[in-house]
Structure formats: C-alpha cells, structure tokens
Subunit: 520 residues, 2 copies
C-alpha cells in the first residue's frame, strides 16, 4: 500500500469507525455465531499474491463483524467498561504512524518524557500523595503498564526483592532460596483473578482471605492471617488491596490495612483498576483514605477513562526495588543506566517486556481533548445512570438490589432462591439484546449491571430495564409496564468547543429523580 | 470529540502520517534534544477545560517530533527493525474502533478465531511442523504475545510446571518447593537480555553459557553444563536457543541441542524474534533444522514482517502445560474453560495479562495486503541491501566485516585496535545523520549496521556508507570518494494492484553486483 492508497483507505476506515459508533445500537450487542464460524469463511492458507484493501475491508463487515461482541454498545453492561474514545483512537493512530519503541531515553526522548509528564498530570488529578509522582524529589514515580495484571505482578516481584534483601541483611546465614520459599502474599477472595495469577507467575503463595459480609478485606482479617503465618515461620511479603472489587465494587479498608503492612514491612499494592478512575472527583477520595500507607497504586485508564486498551497507570513510592529486581544490565551495560534520575526513568526496567509502545500519546490526547472537567463529567454521568437503573430495580417489588449501587455497578436479583434469577439471566443471554454477567454474593446469584459504554444514555438504561422486566414477567407470570421517557433527569446538552463532551449533566442535579414508574 | 470532528481530525491525521512517511528523510534520524526538554514545553498540570484537537495536533509537531528518534527512517540502522506499514496501521485503527477485549471466546468470537487462523497461516508460511498448528489434532497451537520477552517467560513457567509435576510423580516424597529450588535454565551469553530477565521474573537461575567463536550455543556446550548441574543435584528444566542473536545474528545449533533436551526432558524454546521472519523464504529454512525437537517457537511480526508493535507469534507443541500453569479458574469457573478444544483456545490462559487487544486484525491486514510473495520480496530486498553495504565495507581496505553478513545485519569495524572504531562511532552519533549501535565480538568493538526501515533503498545505503566513509577519512587521515549511483542492481519497479509492494527485486538477480567503486 503506497501513501496515496493509504490516504484513501485510511479515510475510508475513519468513516467506517464513525459510522460504526453512530449506528452501534442497530447491532445486537452479543455475537450470535456458532463456535468455529470463522474457519468456514477464512481459507486455511494466507494468499500468495497481495489483495486489494477494498476486498479486505469488505471482509471486515462480512467475516469479522458477525463475531464481534460490541463492548462499546450502550447495551453492553458486562464486566467493567473498556475505554474507547475518538481522542484515544487518533492518539494511537499517531503512535502507530511514528512506530517508535521507547525502551530507553535515547530511543525516543519524547516517549519517556511525555509518559513522565502525563503520569504527573494524572497522579495530581487523582489526588495521590506527591511521593508517587516523578516530579517529587524522592525515588517514586509513575509508569504505564499494559494491564493491572502486569502491575500486580511487577510489584510482587519488587516486593520479593525488597523482602529477600531485608531478611538476608538481618539473617546473613539464611539461604536466599530458603527465604524466598517462606514468602507469602495476601489478598481477599473478592480480588480479581489476575491477583491470584500474579502469585502463580511469581512463585509466591497468594492467600485469598475471606472478605467480610460487605466484600471488604479489613485490618483484623489481614492481621489474623499474618499472625498465623508468622507463627508457622513464614515471611509475610505482599498485600494486594482492591478498591472496587470486580464482583460488587467493594472497597478494602486501606486505613486499617496500611498500618499493619507498614509495621510488618509488607509491600502494600492497591488494585483500583476500575474504581480508581472516580478519584478524579474529589467527593470520592474518602474511599482511598489511607493511600499514604501504600507502596504502589494502579488504575486503568483503559477501563473507565476513555483511553483504549492497553493503558494501565501504576505508581510506586520507591522505584529502586523494581529496577533492582528487573535490571539485567547491572554489570555489562552500566553506562546506559539512567534510572537514578527520577525525571528520566529507564522504563524498560519498570516492566516485563523490553519493547514498549508510545502509549502516553493516546493518554495525552484524551486528557487534553476532554480536560479534567470532561472526564469528571463522564464519571458523574455514568454513576447517575447506574443510580437510575438501581431506582428501576428498587421500584419493582419482585427484585432486590443486593449491594449498594456503587460507581457504575448495580448487583440485582429476583427475590427468593437463585433459580428464577438464573432463568432470567439465561433467557436474557439467549435473546442477546443486553449483555451482563453474573456473580455470587454470600451464595446468592446476582446479575451485574454495569454502565459501560461512553455512548450510554437514559434511553439505553430504559431499554435494558424494559428487556429485563419483560423477561421477568414471563418467569414470574406477571404483567408490568414499560418505562419510557418518563424520567426527569436534567441534562444540560452542552457541546463544548472541542466536541470533547456532548452531554454534560447539570451540576446542580445531584440525585436521580424518577417522576413516575408503573410496575405490575 | 463527536463523529463529525473525528472524521475531520482522523483524516487530518491520516494525511499527517502519509506526509511523515513520504518526507521522513528530511528529519534527522536521531533526536538531538537535551534531557528534560519536554518538561519545559508541557505544563505540569492537565488542562481543566477540554482543548481543540487542532491545538493538540499542532503540538505534536512542536513538542513531540523534536524528541522522536525515527525508527522508520531509512537512516535508522540500530538494534533490529520495528515493523511498520500502512496495512498494519489501518488494521490497528479498526482494532481500536471496535475496542473489544477478547479474553475468552464469548467476549468476541472473531478475536479468538481470527487469531487461530492467522497463526495457522503464518506457521505454514514459515514451514513449521504441523504439531505446532492449532488446526492439528494434538494439543499444540499458536498465540499472539506482546513481545518475545513475554513468550520466553510464559514458556519458562510452562516448563517449570511440567518439570515440577514430572519430578514429583517420580519422587512423591519430594517437596514441591524443594523441586522448584533445584530447577535451572540455560541460554547462551549471546541471547537477548530478555532471556536473562525471564529467569529473574520466574525465579529460575538462567545460566548464560559461553558461545563458541561463531556466537553459537552448541550441543557439547549445553551437554557439559547439564552434566555439571546434574552432578550437583540440580534439575535442568528449560533451554532458550536463539536463531539470530542480537549481537551478530548467529544461529544456535538446534539439531545438536534438540536431542539433548528431548533425552533429558528439558523444555526447548526457540527465540527467533528477528531472523525467524526469513523462514518465509524456503532457502533459509536450513537454519532452523532441528525445529521438530522444539517445544516452543517465537518470532516477532513486529520486527521484520511489517506489523506494528506489538505482535509476537508464539507456538507450543503442547499447550496444556501453559494452561495448567496459568489457569487460576480451575475450581470455580470450570464451566468456562474451553481450552481442551485446540480450535477454540481460551487465550487468557496462554498469556500473562487477562485483557487482550484484537492484534490478529493488523496481522490479517498485513498478510492479505502483502501476500506471501510480498513479504518474501520484502525480506529478500533487505538482505540484498545488507549485502550491498557489506560490499562497500569490504571494498575499503581500512575496514573489515567481522562476522559473515547475515540477514539484514553487517558487523564491521576499522581494522586494528578498538579506539579508531570507537572514535568513528562517537563521531557518527554526534552528527546524528545515521543511527547504529555497537556490539562486542570476541573483545573487538564492532558497529552493527542493520537494514531496518521498509523505506530503505540503495540510495540510503549509499548515504549511510558515504557518511561512515567521510568520518573515517577524518580519523584515518585519508581521502576517499563517494559512492553514488554507480551500483548496478536490477530492480523491477513493479507496482502491484494492491499497492502492497512498490519495489520488487528481480527474481533472477540473486547476488548484489557492484559495477565500480572507488576508494582512496
């Protein structure tokens, strides 16, 4: 493809993406293909001769689209959001156009320095302690990882290095392998599966402590586990606290966990992959009280902050442990090692792979095109839409909201035993008009409804509720009435000059007000 | 940014990328900024209000571009190539537009199935044994990783799981931790630093065995190390062989290493990150003789095959060890586990993170728009350009080519001790008109010249040589004459219908022929 063809093809693809977004409600959110559908459509060998881009592009619609589950559809309410915005897409186009690999400063100074700067920006936007920022005097700093999984694992390795050295210095006769075999990590049974995986990857037992009835890991729960292990000669090394669990968006009690970790020299990592985004709003920061005790903190911009996957922001209070654990060039490439200057980190020693994309570019585009207020408005709006959905559920006496509506998540079920909820869920999945996933809360089956797409509007929440309500009618043998357009939520439809935000919720409107809802 | 603004902005960015590529020779390949340059240009806080995309785009030229080292410049001859093509860029635009996260089949069937199919395509293009393909009956298959670093690490963990289980089954009384502490891995001292890092990450000592004088790890070298370790009660577990080392593009002797690994139940991984791409040409496949002994094989499409970072193709002969090592859902999500069907792998168990981009899309675009012949032509052309450069060096009596010109790499130096070569290199770096890196071969300092950019033409090789020659004139106090346009290499300038390839080398023209070169 030469430059002229690229201009034509690239612009066609730009139009295709815009049309896809504009008309995404016309596509069923869940793919309905049978397993193996694509193997019948794609030949078993690569073509010998190059093909025309128009042929390939027409195959995207014919072959790929039927097998897509539309994560950006306003009918997608499963898992947590995946970030997506036009701002991020154009930033990433430039990243690919430049195609530079910024594994050290000289391989593209802008890659390192822009990442340092946007991580400073974002850390301030969340109100993180300044020891985490690259611009601080100390050894702290931020870096973009590919995922929260990698962040959890990277910090586990740093913790292992730190603890092993500390124990060795106190017990010079102890064998390093013997020390490592005694290390143990802790998280709650509500943490993401990637936390357990980090333990597997890093050869450190990860104890899944039973959370309290509110889904939280508390100080007493952790203290008890640590005491047990220490009594058995083990060495507590690493704790992963979750702010916003995957199941119910519960917040571990950092203020209780922090002092325990600090007193016992345990590395405390915070996985705030989804809910951490909400800290751009000062009114939510009470949920991270105790963050000053923390050694490392991670939040995904690629979840709730409109940056396309992958873009996970991780900060550490002291990067030297990570660099020590990862730096394979200590001896023979000493001259190339610059990370003693926190302003010019050698980011290859802050991550698993050597190569790295210029991810900071898409983040920079999103932060600048939306601005702090634009991202705050996005979070506010999605929280309000979740509250609206919670209101619909609460106003229907057949249903219950199981845990408090938190952030964009509503956990709900049909009252009684699990069977009707399971029937309802299966019926919804068969129809494929809305996509949600289930979870288990205190042995109760719940359906998780998450406001995910940035395109989600009141009418989409109504659509989802009406779909759920109708299927519940069949299961419970009742007749209820649709909710449509009778919701009074003041929306200031402000188009900013940048086009960054089209709908900004009225600042005065703090709570969702539902005028009238009729249920059978 | 709304859809209309995106259309305008997206098309502007498409033009910007095309103009950047068309005029890339006008930009100095190496950034000349001072450390910290960007902190003076970017404010310390994110903007409160969203900004206009035109402002941000103009800042790309003002703020970002001065700090870019242009990896796709025809004057970039450092490291190894980073893949970049218009085909890949449009494929990745669609990936971002769809923004789906294919961590299991249902989350977008097309993500899993297209990846399976293009990995089958590519495995066949390289002539890999069919046990590696997903379409085979057995438990083998291919997957896209982010980098060769991750592939090496993932296979180390699979090897650890396999060996631990085997040893435990033979010695039921041995403690699992005791077994793990005895495991040891091997690679050559010429392997990429990421191999040593994999050992650090996975807590397995990685012995860096001294390669032979040709930079190869041989059977006897490995056998000796294994025997030593077994005599000391250690358990050999994992070997990483390199096909195309970073320093000199040497090939470890797979045919000798394979039987040793198979006999001793050692997992044999092949890191063919760069040179593996050349196996699209059957005439190079003798360099992977012995591949049937291998357990896993990795080659980066994002290096020499025109796919943008990140896109690393990894195959395993038996995926069950990897899935066993990584699957954290064995108990409580059993119903969700589909990887027993090699046609429908649950790819989240084949990698470190949970989330995954739809990388197969850009790979599909590149394979289809170029076709097998297009990619073969690309490799052939770059090898010929490297031979041309080698010819320039050889014809200048002041210089020597240190190791045979292999693939796109030429290792050269000024004859004699290291100082003149160091002076030459430093002088070239100060000028910043071509970018190369150095290596040490048998204690001799060499400069590595790699044909990297897909845009590199004869005139660029001449440009680089003339730059080197002129600086050498100053150091050696001689006067030589420029090479310009007097090279006779037949090039069939064929524009294919797709525009996939603009210059295809004449198939009959097997060797570079230099008509006349004059040197002082």
């Amino acid at each position: 493809m030469d430059s002229e063809s690229f201009k034509e093809c690239g612009k066609t693809v730009v139009n295709y993406i815009a049309d896809y977004m504009d008309n995404i409600r016309d596509r069923p959110v869940l793919s309905t293909v049978e397993p193996g559908y694509l193997y019948k459509l794609v030949p078993p060998q690569a073509p010998v001769k190059g093909e025309d881009w128009k042929t390939v592009l027409s195959d995207v619609e014919k072959i790929i689209m039927p097998g897509i589950t539309h994560w950006n559809s306003p009918q997608f309410h499963a898992f947590f959001p995946t970030g997506n915005s036009y701002a991020s897409i154009v930033g990433d186009m430039l990243c690919n156009g430049l195609g530079c690999i910024g594994f050290s400063w000289i391989t593209s100074p802008a890659c390192t320095e822009l990442e340092v700067q946007v991580m400073n920006w974002f850390g301030k936007m969340l109100g993180l302690p300044k020891e985490f920022l690259n611009e601080s005097e100390g050894p702290g700093g931020g870096v973009l990882q590919g995922s929260a999984s990698e962040a959890t694992f990277v910090c586990l390795l740093a913790a292992k290095d730190r603890t092993t050295k500390r124990v060795k210095s106190l017990n010079p006769n102890m064998d390093i392998n013997e020390i490592k075999a005694k290390l143990v990590a802790y998280t709650s049974d509500q943490s993401n599966s990637s936390v357990e995986k980090a333990g597997l990857l890093g050869s450190m037992p990860m104890r899944l402590l039973k959370a309290n009835d509110d889904g939280q890991m508390t100080g007493p729960i952790l203290a008890k586990a640590i005491a047990e292990d220490m009594a058995n000669g083990l060495i507590p090394c690493y704790v992963v606290a979750t702010l916003g669990t995957t199941g119910t968006c519960a917040f571990d009690r950092l203020e209780e966990l922090g002092p325990i970790c600090n007193e016992n020299n345990i590395w405390l990592h915070v996985d705030a992959a989804y809910a951490g985004a909400a800290f751009v709003l000062p009114e939510y920061r009470h949920l991270m009280a105790g963050v000053h005790y923390v050694d490392s903190f991670d939040v995904n911009l690629h979840k709730w902050l409109l940056v396309n996957f992958d873009c996970s922001a991780m900060w550490v209070k002291d990067a030297t442990h990570m660099v020590d654990a990862f730096n394979v060039n200590r001896v023979y490439l000493k001259h190339d090692y610059q990370s003693t200057d926190p302003q010019l980190p050698d980011y290859r020693h802050w991550q698993i792979p050597l190569g790295r994309r210029f991810r900071a570019l898409k983040m920079w585009f999103v932060l600048r095109l939306y601005g702090v207020e634009g991202l705050q408005a996005h979070i506010k709006k999605q929280v309000k839409l979740a509250k609206l959905f919670g209101k619909f559920v609460n106003d229907d006496s057949r249903f219950e909201v199981v845990t408090p509506v938190t952030m964009g998540l509503v956990c709900f079920r049909l009252k009684g035993d699990n069977e009707p909820t399971r029937d309802l869920y299966e019926s919804l999945m068969r129809r494929g008009r809305v996509y949600m996933v289930t979870a288990t809360v205190q042995s109760q089956l719940v359906i998780r409804f998450v406001v995910c797409s940035r395109l989600t509007e009141i009418r989409d929440v109504e659509f989802a509720w009406n779909e759920i309500r109708e299927q519940a009618d069949k299961i419970t043998d009742t007749v209820t009435t649709a909710v449509t357009g009778n919701v009074d939520i003041t929306i200031a439809s402000t188009i900013t000059k940048t086009g960054g935000i089209t709908d900004v919720w009225n600042e005065e409107e703090e709570h969702v007000v539902v005028k009238s809802l009729t249920h059978g």
